[in-house]
Every structure is written in structure tokens, then in C-alpha cells.
């Protein structure tokens, strides 16, 4: 198995990745639009550009999450065994963590999509 990170820490990092990407995406979207709307008069940038930029950022965030989901799926053995993985073995611990990471990635994916939905509908700042 090829590892992106040293194997002892990889599983822990992938567990965190998806929720951290979700949090970062959330903060960036909200802060960017808030700052833009405050500075709109000064900056002379069209809101369409902000939407496009955040749209691209959203795709990057989703790609990150999909990557972490893939690593988790692999750690889970591609679904080779069924949960709950509650045996006191290294194998079960690894599978359990992989499965948890996979579920967290799914949740984060949906959350990022939901955070991005208003980008489709909100066409400008409310004065």
C-alpha cells in the first residue's frame, strides 16, 4: 500500500481532513462575502467574480474531501468486512477508524455543498 503520509499518522490525519476542509470552506465563504459587501463600493469588483472564485474554491474543497474519503475507504479495506469492527485487534481498530473517517467525509461533503448552495441564488449584497 502506498502512503501519502507516514502510515502511523495517516489514519489520524485523514480522520480530521474532511471536517477541517468543511470548516475552512465555511469560514472562507462567509468572510469573503462579508468583506466584499463591506468594500463593494471601494473595490470595483463584480460580485459575479466573487461567486466564481468561491465556486472554484468549493470544487477544490470537495476534491479534498473525496480524496480523504478514498483514503478512508482504502483503510476500511474497501468494505471487505462489515461494521461494527469492535474486536480488540489492530485490524479492527484500523477498519473502525477508516469507516468513521468515511462517514465523516460523507457528512462534510454534503455540508460543503449546502454551504455553497446560496452562491447559486444570491446575486448581490443587500444594502
Amino acid at each position: 500500500m502506498k502512503h501519502l503520509l507516514p502510515p502511523e499518522i495517516e489514519s489520524l490525519w485523514t480522520l480530521f481532513t474532511a471536517p477541517v476542509v468543511w470548516a475552512a470552506h465555511f469560514v472562507v465563504c462567509y468572510a469573503a462575502v462579508a468583506i466584499y459587501c463591506e468594500k463593494a463600493a471601494v473595490w470595483d469588483v463584480d460580485f459575479g467574480n466573487v461567486r466564481t472564485a468561491l465556486g472554484i474554491f468549493t470544487l477544490l474543497a470537495l476534491a479534498m474531501i473525496v480524496l480523504s474519503a478514498y483514503l478512508a475507504w482504502r483503510q476500511w479495506g474497501f468494505g471487505a468486512g462489515d461494521p461494527p469492527h469492535d474486536g480488540a485487534t489492530d485490524q479492527d481498530r484500523k477498519r473502525f477508524q477508516g469507516f468513521a473517517t468515511l462517514l465523516l467525509s460523507g457528512l462534510s461533503f454534503v455540508a460543503v455543498v449546502y454551504v455553497a448552495i446560496p452562491l447559486i441564488f444570491i446575486a448581490g449584497c443587500q444594502q
Binding site: 460523507g106 454534503v110 455543498v113 449546502y114 448552495i117 446560496p118 447559486i120 441564488f121 444570491i122 446575486a123 448581490g124 443587500q126 444594502q127
Partner: protein
């Protein structure tokens, strides 16, 4: 509560219920039906109902509510159906695989899709945010409303933003035209809400919020403060009248030339007792700005921001004991002035049209 204010509580959901009781037959079933009916009917109609919309924003809100309600009922029926299905006698166990699929679809995939649809629909409904919504706010008629403990200062502005005249606790607007409400507050957070016309918007000290509303049919509606702002928060309402364009223009020019009856005894008393420290009456020496402007007061429907019907008796009572009517109202009691003086002032104010 006093008799007079009871008779004035005509905006409460009691209307349907009161009507319902007359057809009471004594049987529990009839009673139940009547109560249910009256709750449903009375809460759906009236001058202050988001479910009886009189403008496009409010119809959006009502539609959203109905969509949510029907969606909720469908989901509820599904869940209860599943419950009965699971609880039926002599059932075969599901295979592990089928159970997994049920959880995947009903527990994850379908809720995600339903929530995404609801979120999109609700965001799309937000006024001023639709890419394809009808233009911006430029050129709209502007009415500035300031929420103050516990009344509403209302200023009509000309297209350049200059104040045409000031009034209080009443909004008159033309039908079929989007009107821009410029919302402010000098003290605490209030919230401006005319349920029949649209959603609410907070009035925040130090900020100016804007809300464009349109009335699509003539009528009288009721607006309320929708953010707790102190002891008399619940007694902070205003009337909204939507007039046809011509009538509205007539009202506007009438208001700008409202009578002030300068020679009257009531005005002399008004000035002698110092009411002009806080109140203005256009065309007289009363120019106070702390309290509501009382020009054309007799033409308004209520006393004390929608609290009492506008009669001479109520005005006199309000003058002498404002905080008996509205707890902690920002007007001092004038219980010390002779009753006759209060009545004289009340008659004068009631005569201003």
C-alpha cells in the same frame, strides 16, 4: 384589563372563536370541531396574518409555509406508515442487505435531497437576492421608519431623501408599487413586521436596514414589533393602510397641509403644560421631537401605538396616565393637570385632521 381595551383587541385570533361559540351544541364532538375550525380559520385570516397575504413577499412566505406543511405531513405519514409496518404481527425478518438499503436511502440519501431542495427553495425566496428579481431599489418611494421604545416614528421622504413630513404609528402606502422602508432605531433592537405584506426586518441602533414591500390589494393591515424591546413591547404596533394611487396622492398632499387650529384653547393648554417639549404639531409652536409627531392626530386610528382606539376619552386617559396603559412608556404622567385640561387637549388633538 379594562373594558375598553378588551373591545379593542379585535386583531387577536379570538374572532373566529367568538363566532364559533354561538353555534355551540353541547356535544363534545361539535365543540371539538368548532374549536379546531375556529383556530384554523381565525389564524388564517385577518389584518395581521402571514397566511392571508396581501402582497407578493407575503404570498411567497405563505407558499413556503404551505410547501413545508404539506411536505411535513407527507414525511410524517411515511414515518408512521413505516412504524405500523414494522409493528405488524407475524412479520418475516428483513434480510440484512435490505435493512442496510432502507437505512442508506431513507436515513441518508432521501433526507439529503429533500433538505437540499428546501434550502434552495428558501434561499431563492429571499427578496433582493434573486438574480432574476425585479431590479434594485433605485427610484422606489421611500418611507423612513424608526422603532423607538415603544412607538414608531414614520417619515415620508421625497426622491432626494428629504423629509416631506413626519407622523407616527401609521403607515399609508400606495397599492401596486414597491415601497422602500428605511429602518432605524435610536435605542434598542426592534423588528419591523407587517405579516400581511412580507417578512420581518430588524431595526438596529447605528445601522440602516432596508426592506422593499408591495401591497397588491387595498386594505388595512397591522404591523407589529417582532423583537422584544422592553415592558411595552407587546403594545408597540402600527396600522398600515394601502390606498389606490389617486387616493394615496390625495392623502399625501392632505397630510402636508393638515389643520393645526392655531387659535384653539386646546393648543394653548398643550403649550402651557409643556407637551411641546416632546411633541410637534406642524403649523404651531410645538416642535418637540422626542415623542410622536401629533399632526393630524385625529385622523389616526389608535392612541399609544395601536394600544387603544382613538377616542377623546382614551386620549385624555393616555395624557394623564400613560404608563398605566403602557408600562414604562417614555412619556411622563400628567396626572397632576386638571381633568378638564386633559379633556380639552384631547378634544383638540382629536379634532386635528
Amino acid at each position: 384589563m379594562t373594558g375598553s381595551s378588551v373591545s379593542f383587541v379585535r386583531f387577536t385570533p379570538c374572532r373566529g372563536a367568538c363566532r364559533g361559540t354561538s353555534s355551540w351544541r353541547g356535544s363534545a364532538l361539535t365543540a371539538g370541531t368548532i374549536i379546531l375550525q375556529s383556530v384554523i380559520l381565525s389564524s388564517c385570516s385577518g389584518v395581521q396574518s402571514a397566511l392571508d397575504p396581501a402582497g407578493p413577499e407575503a404570498s411567497d412566505v405563505a407558499t413556503l409555509f404551505h410547501v413545508m406543511l404539506i411536505g411535513g405531513v407527507v414525511i410524517w405519514l411515511g414515518v408512521v406508515g413505516a412504524l405500523f409496518h414494522a409493528g405488524r404481527r407475524a412479520r418475516e425478518p428483513y434480510s440484512e442487505r435490505t435493512a442496510g438499503l432502507v437505512i442508506l436511502w431513507c436515513g441518508a440519501i432521501i433526507p439529503v435531497i429533500v433538505l437540499a431542495a428546501l434550502l434552495s427553495y428558501a434561499v431563492w425566496l429571499m427578496p433582493n437576492m434573486r438574480p432574476w428579481s425585479s431590479g434594485g431599489e433605485g427610484g422606489l418611494r421611500q418611507i423612513e421608519v424608526s422603532g423607538e421604545q415603544f412607538w414608531w416614528r414614520v417619515r415620508y421622504l421625497d426622491p432626494e431623501g428629504n423629509v416631506l413630513f413626519e407622523t407616527a404609528n401609521e403607515v399609508v402606502m400606495p397599492v401596486g408599487e414597491r415601497v422602500l422602508f428605511v429602518l432605524k432605531s435610536p435605542d434598542v433592537i426592534h423588528s419591523f413586521w407587517i405579516p400581511s405584506l412580507g417578512g420581518k426586518m430588524d431595526m438596529i441602533p447605528g445601522r440602516t436596514n432596508r426592506l422593499a414591500l408591495e401591497a397588491s390589494k387595498p386594505g388595512t393591515y397591522r404591523g407589529v414589533c417582532a423583537e422584544f424591546c422592553g415592558p411595552s413591547h407587546a403594545l408597540m404596533a402600527f396600522s398600515v393602510e394601502a390606498l389606490e394611487r389617486g387616493e394615496f396622492e390625495a392623502w399625501l398632499s392632505g397630510r402636508q397641509n393638515a389643520a393645526s387650529n392655531p387659535g384653539s384653547q386646546g393648543l394653548a393648554l398643550f403649550l402651557r403644560h409643556g407637551c411641546n417639549a416632546c411633541h410637534a404639531i406642524d403649523g404651531t409652536d410645538a416642535r418637540g421631537t422626542i415623542g410622536p409627531n401629533l399632526s393630524a392626530f385625529g385622523a389616526r386610528g389608535t392612541v399609544g401605538a395601536g394600544t387603544l382606539p382613538n377616542t377623546e376619552e382614551h386620549i385624555a386617559r393616555f395624557i394623564r396616565h400613560p404608563s398605566e396603559i403602557k408600562p414604562q412608556a417614555r412619556m411622563p404622567s400628567f396626572g397632576m393637570i386638571p381633568e378638564g385640561d386633559a379633556e380639552e387637549i384631547a378634544a383638540y388633538l382629536k379634532g386635528l385632521k
